[in-house]
C-alpha cells in the first residue's frame, strides 16, 4: 500500500511553498521520518519527512514547483516499488492517472497550484483585461469571478501583472554578470520592506547611551549569573527590559494602526532580529514584561540556535509588538532601521566604541558609547513620544537600577 507525501501545515496565513530540494530520488529506499524534501515559504524553510518507510516511488512536485498546503509532493511505495501504473515519471503534476491509484492516502492528487485555476467567467475577464494573476479566494485558492472583479475595481499598482513573461524586454545576458534567482525568503523580505516604507510615515530619531554602568553590572554578576541560570548574561536582556519599561510609559510605540483605529497592545512581545545565512529573521520573545533576565537570554539563545538550524516556525515570528535590531554586531555605528510591519517602532542598537565624552564636572573621559536609533511611524507616534521613549531607554541602560525601580 503506498503513502502520499503531502505538504504539511505551513503556518498562519501561509498557503503555499516552493519545492527547494529533494534529498532522495525516485527509486531510493527511505526510512520512516527520514528527510525527503525541503520546502521554502515566505518566512521559513521547512523539511518534509517520510510518512512511512518504503521506496520513493514518485515525485510529483519537482524543484521549483509551487505547492499548496495538503498537496501531494510524491509517493512512497511498499519496498517492492509499485511502478506498474503508467505514471510517466511524474512528468505532469496535475495528472488524473495518478489519482487512479486505489485511494491509499485520503488526499487525492491536486494540481500544483489551485491559485492558477480560474473559473470560466474569471478566465474570460482576466484574458480581456490582461491580468496574469489574481489572488484567488475560491475553494483551495481558485480564482472566482468575484476575485477578478475586485482586482479590476481596485486599480492601484497590482493590476497590470508584474510576474511572468515580459512587460519589459529581458536584459541581454552579460558574461560578466551572474544571474541568481531570488529565494522566496528574500523576495518576501523585499516585498515587506517596500510595504513598510510605502505605508508608514517613517523617520528615525537618535540618541546615544553610555554603556559604562551596564558593563559594570555585567562584569560584576556575569559569572554568578551563568552559574545560577545556565545562560550568559548578555546585553539583550537589559535592552529588552529597558524597552519594556519605556513601552509601558509610551504606549503609542507599542501600538499599531488598523484602518481608522489605533490598537494599543497591553502585552509586550518583542522581536529580536537575528541574521542567518538565508537572511534576516525576527523571532518574537513573548511577554517580555513577565520574563526574568535569564528567561529573556535563554529564549533569545534558543531562537538563535533554531534560526541557524533553519528550524524557526512561522508562529515564532508573528505577532510581535516591537522589534530590536542590532547592527552593532556587524560593526555599524549608526543606522536607520526599517519598521517591521505592522509594528510602529523599531530600536536599532549599534557598535559600542570608546569615545571622548565630557563628564558633568567638565573632565573628558573615554567612555564606551553606543548610538541608539528609533525608527517610528509618525502616523501613530508623535515626535515627543518617540524622543521620550528613546531617552527612557537610554536612562535605563545608563542606570539599570531604574529598570528595577521602574523609574
Amino acid at each position: 500500500m503506498s503513502t502520499n507525501i503531502v505538504v504539511p501545515t505551513l503556518g498562519e496565513s501561509v498557503t503555499e511553498a516552493t519545492v527547494a530540494k529533494w534529498f532522495k530520488q525516485v527509486g531510493d529506499a527511505v526510512a520512516a521520518d527520514e528527510r525527503l524534501v525541503e520546502l521554502e515559504t515566505d518566512k521559513v524553510t521547512i523539511e518534509v519527512n517520510a510518512p512511512a518507510a518504503g521506496t520513493l516511488s514518485d515525485i510529483s512536485a519537482k524543484v521549483g514547483a509551487t505547492v499548496a498546503v495538503g498537496a501531494v509532493l510524491g509517493e512512497i511505495g511498499a519496498s517492492s516499488a509499485k511502478a506498474s501504473e503508467p505514471k510517466p515519471a511524474a512528468a505532469t503534476p496535475p495528472t488524473p492517472t495518478v489519482a487512479a491509484k486505489p485511494a491509499a492516502g485520503p488526499a487525492p492528487v491536486q494540481p500544483a497550484t489551485k491559485g492558477d485555476v480560474a473559473s470560466p467567467a474569471a478566465a474570460k475577464l482576466m484574458a480581456e483585461n490582461n491580468l496574469a494573476s489574481v489572488t484567488g479566494t475560491g475553494k483551495d485558492g481558485r480564482v472566482t469571478k468575484g476575485d477578478v472583479l475586485h482586482t479590476l475595481s481596485s486599480p492601484p499598482s497590482p493590476a497590470p501583472a508584474p510576474a511572468p513573461s515580459a512587460p519589459r524586454a529581458p536584459r541581454p545576458e552579460d558574461p560578466r554578470e551572474e544571474r541568481v534567482r531570488m529565494t522566496r525568503l528574500r523576495k518576501r523580505i523585499a516585498e515587506r520592506l517596500k510595504e513598510a516604507q510605502n505605508t508608514a510615515a517613517m523617520l528615525t530619531t537618535f540618541n546615544e547611551v553610555d554603556m559604562t554602568a551596564l558593563n559594570a553590572c555585567r562584569n560584576q554578576y556575569k559569572d554568578a549569573f551563568e552559574k545560577k541560570h545556565g545562560v550568559k548574561l548578555g546585553f539583550m536582556s537589559f535592552f529588552v527590559k529597558a524597552c519594556v519599561t519605556a513601552l509601558k510609559e509610551w504606549p503609542a510605540v507599542n501600538a499599531e494602526i488598523d484602518g481608522d483605529d489605533l490598537v494599543y497592545k497591553n502585552f509586550y512581545d518583542i522581536g529580536v532580529a537575528v541574521g542567518t545565512p538565508n537572511g534576516l529573521v525576527v523571532p518574537v520573545v513573548r511577554d517580555c514584561d513577565k520574563l526574568s533576565f535569564a528567561e529573556v537570554e535563554k529564549t533569545i539563545g534558543n531562537y538563535g540556535k533554531k534560526a541557524r538550524d533553519g528550524k524557526l516556525a512561522i508562529e515564532d515570528m508573528t505577532g510581535g509588538t516591537f522589534t530590536i535590531s542590532n547592527g552593532g554586531v556587524y560593526g555599524s555605528l549608526m543606522s536607520t532601521p526599517i519598521l517591521n510591519p505592522p509594528q510602529s517602532g523599531i530600536l536599532g542598537m549599534h557598535k559600542t566604541s570608546m569615545r571622548p565624552m565630557v563628564m558633568p564636572d567638565g573632565k573628558i573621559e573615554a567612555r564606551p558609547m553606543m548610538y541608539l536609533a528609533l525608527s517610528y511611524d509618525h502616523r501613530v507616534i508623535d515626535g515627543r513620544e518617540a524622543v521620550s521613549f528613546l531617552v527612557r531607554v537610554k536612562e535605563c541602560i545608563e542606570d539599570p537600577q531604574r529598570i528595577l525601580l521602574d523609574m
Binding site: S119, A121, A122, G138, T144, G146
Partner: protein, 469 residues
C-alpha cells in the same frame, strides 16, 4: 454476547448512523452500530425516503398511463392497479435496501447490534437486545444518531389506522375516498400526491399561508398552482383544533389560523404531517449530563461534540435541515474529525428536494432570505415551457430560478420546480461548492436537448441574456 469494547459506537443505523459507522471503519476504527428497529437504515430506508419514493414511482406510472399515454397516441383502455402488489413491491425495495446496508456493515467489519442502547456513563452503554438480553459496551467515542420521530398534533391523536403518520400512510390497505393531509410540507405533499394519483380526493390543511412554507415564495406559489391543477385542494392559513373518530371516518374541527369561525371537515383517513421532532427517548442522556434544548435537539459544537467529551451527535437529532444527506455528510465529517482529519460540512450547499411531480428542488438562499439579509442580488428565471426537451416529453410545468450576488455574480441560491428538479439541482450544488458565478454555469456546456439546459438559461438570465427566451 459478552461485554465488548470498540473505538466508535454509533447509536442509530439510519443514514447518519450507518454512514458514520462505515466511514469510521474505513478510517480504521473498530466500530459498532446499534439500532432498535432490526433492519438497519433508520426512518429513511424503512418508513421514510425509500418506501415513499417507491410508491411515488408506482403511482406516477399509473397516473401517466391513465392521463398522459393518450397524448402520445397510446391507447390502453381503463388502467387498474393492485394496491397489495404495489405495497409488496415497495416492501421488496425496502428490504433490498436494508439488506444492502447489512452487507455494507459486514463488508466493513462493523458489528451491528439490534437493541435499544442507553448511555450509562461516558464511554459506556447498556443495550437491551431484542432477545431480551442486556449487553454492556465500552466505547472510546459514542455517536448519537437516533434521528427523529413524528411530531404529534394535540387533539389529533395518531392511531395509524384512521389518523395516520407518514408510517401509516405508507401502509394503507385501501385507497381512502377522502384523505385529509394536515401540513403542506414535503411529507404531506408527497404522500398526498401518491394517494391522489391512486384515486383519493385529497385536501391539504396548512397552518401557514403557503404550501412548502420553507421554500422560496415564488416556488411555493407555483407549486400550489400546479398541484391544484392536478386536483389537490388546499386550505391554507387554517389550523386543526381537534379530531373526532367515527366508526369509519374522522371529523376534524378547523379554525382560521388567526382565529375566527370554526368549521368541520370529514375524512376517511387523516394524515398528520406537521413535522418531525428529535428522538432521544431512553437514551440515557441524563446519566451523562446531556440536556436536550427546549425543542428536544441535542446541543453540539461545530465538531459535533456534546458537552460530554467523547460523546457526539449528528443528523436529525441535532437539528438543522432534517435531511438524510445532511446526516450522511455529518456522519462522514465526524468520523474524519475523530481520525484527526479536517472533516467539514458545508451547510450553505445542502440541497432539499420534494419528490412530487413536478419535483421541487432548492439549494442556498431564497429571495426572501436574501432580502431579509439585505444582500443585493440578481435573479435569472427560465420556464420549462421554453425547454425543448421538456416540450418533447410533454412535461413543461415549472421553472428554474438562479439567484446571484449583484456584485460578484456568485450563485447564492437556486430553486427549481419541474421535471427531475431533484437531479438538475446537482450541478448548481457542485457549482456553489466551488463558489461559481452564474456566468460560470452559463459558460459550461450543457448537452442538447436536455432539461439541464433550463439551468444554463436561467444562469444566462441572471445577466439578462438568455438565448432561448
Amino acid at each position: 454476547m459478552a461485554d465488548q469494547s470498540f473505538d466508535v459506537v454509533v447509536i442509530g443505523a439510519g443514514p447518519g448512523g450507518y454512514v458514520a459507522a462505515i466511514r469510521a471503519a474505513q478510517l480504521g476504527f473498530s466500530t459498532a452500530c446499534i439500532d432498535r428497529r432490526g433492519p438497519p437504515g433508520g426512518t429513511c430506508l424503512n418508513v421514510g425516503c425509500i418506501p415513499s419514493k417507491a410508491l411515488l414511482q408506482s403511482s406516477h406510472h399509473y397516473e401517466d398511463a391513465n392521463h398522459h399515454f393518450a397524448d402520445h397516441g397510446i391507447s390502453v383502455g381503463k388502467v387498474g392497479f393492485d394496491l397489495a402488489k404495489m405495497m409488496a413491491r415497495k416492501q421488496k425495495v425496502v428490504a433490498d435496501n436494508t439488506k444492502g446496508v447489512e452487507f455494507l456493515f459486514k463488508k466493513n467489519k462493523i458489528t451491528y447490534i439490534v437493541g435499544e442502547a442507553k448511555i450509562t456513563a461516558p464511554g459506556q452503554l447498556a443495550i437491551n437486545t431484542k432477545e431480551g438480553g442486556s449487553d454492556k459496551i465500552t466505547a472510546k467515542h459514542i455517536i448519537i444518531a437516533t434521528g427523529s420521530d413524528v411530531t404529534p398534533l394535540p387533539g389529533v391523536e395518531i392511531d395509524e389506522k384512521q389518523i395516520v403518520s407518514s408510517t401509516g400512510a405508507l401502509e394503507l390497505a385501501s385507497v381512502p375516498e377522502h384523505l385529509v393531509v394536515i401540513g403542506a410540507g414535503v411529507i404531506g405533499l408527497e404522500l398526498g400526491s401518491v394517494w391522489h394519483r391512486l384515486g383519493a380526493k385529497v385536501t391539504v390543511v396548512e397552518y401557514l399561508d403557503r404550501v412548502l412554507p420553507t421554500n422560496d415564495g415564488e416556488v411555493s406559489k407555483q407549486a400550489q398552482r400546479i398541484f391544484e391543477k392536478q386536483g389537490l385542494e388546499f386550505k391554507l392559513s387554517t389550523k386543526v383544533t381537534g379530531a373526532k373518530l367515527g366508526k369509519k371516518d374522522v371529523t376534524l374541527s378547523l379554525e382560521p389560523a388567526a382565529g375566527g369561525e370554526p368549521s368541520e371537515l370529514k375524512a376517511d383517513v387523516v394524515l398528520v404531517a406537521i413535522g418531525r421532532r428529535p428522538y432521544t427517548t431512553n437514551l440515557g442522556l441524563e446519566n451523562v449530563g446531556i440536556t436536550p434544548d427546549k425543542r428536544g435537539f441535542i446541543p453540539v459544537d461545530h465538531h459535533f461534540q456534546t458537552n460530554v467529551p467523547g460523546i457526539y451527535a449528528i443528523g436529525d437529532v441535532i437539528g438543522g435541515a432534517m435531511l438524510a444527506h445532511k446526516a450522511e455528510d455529518e456522519g462522514v465529517a465526524l468520523a474524519e474529525i475523530l481520525a484527526g482529519q479536517a472533516g467539514h460540512v458545508n451547510y450553505n450547499a445542502i440541497p432539499g428536494v420534494v419528490y412530487t411531480w413536478p419535483e421541487v428542488a432548492s439549494v442556498g438562499k431564497s429571495e426572501e432570505q436574501l432580502k431579509a439579509e439585505g444582500v443585493e442580488y440578481k435573479a435569472g428565471k427560465f420556464p420549462f415551457t421554453a425547454n425543448s426537451r421538456a416540450r418533447a416529453n410533454g412535461d413543461t410545468d415549472g421553472f428554474v430560478k438562479i439567484l446571484a450576488d449583484a456584485r460578484t455574480d456568485e450563485v447564492l441560491g437556486c430553486h427549481i420546480i419541474g421535471p427531475s428538479a431533484g437531479d438538475l439541482i446537482g450541478e448548481v450544488v457542485l457549482g456553489m461548492e466551488f463558489r461559481a458565478a452564474a456566468e460560470d454555469i452559463a459558460r459550461t456546456c450543457h448537452a442538447h436537448p436536455g432539461l439541464a439546459e433550463a439551468v444554463k438559461e436561467a444562469a444566462l438570465g441572471v445577466a439578462s441574456r438568455a438565448i432561448h427566451l
